[in-house]
Symmetry: C2
Subunit: 76 residues, 2 copies
């Protein structure tokens, strides 16, 4: 099954949002990607429309930017 992807980078805003999102969305429907540790995925995230973290990429391709932790350019 295709899952939503929660992108974050370990920042305080990210971690707080991650906990909230994981409490709300069933675990089998979401994948978590830490762009600070997994920099190889930054380009793909950008191409999907992620401009800042934390962000949630839904299965239909929409990006929900949640609060603001860091811009994706700052993670490179």
């Amino acid at each position: 099954m295709k899952k939503a992807i929660f992108f974050h980078a370990g920042c305080p805003v990210c971690l707080s949002a991650e906990q909230d999102i994981l409490n709300l969305i069933p675990a089998d429907q979401i994948e978590v990607v830490h762009l600070g540790e997994d920099k190889g995925k930054i380009t793909a995230a950008e191409q999907a429309g992620v401009q800042s973290v934390p962000a949630l990429l839904t299965t239909n391709g929409n990006v929900l930017h949640i609060n603001f932790g860091a811009s994706i350019g700052d993670l490179k």
Copy 2:
């Protein structure tokens, strides 16, 4: 059971986010409030920390501002 509350105001950004959020979060865990139609709830939303819509107020009191549709001041 206490539910998360999704605040919106009928704007295009709101409706798109609402659909995405309702697809992800089980229906019995979330309540939707349309602040454009239910203006009596604007003050309570502001006091809970909602600064713009769409926003998700979690059961532990955190506010996740999701993308940006309108500032809450513009709804009054």
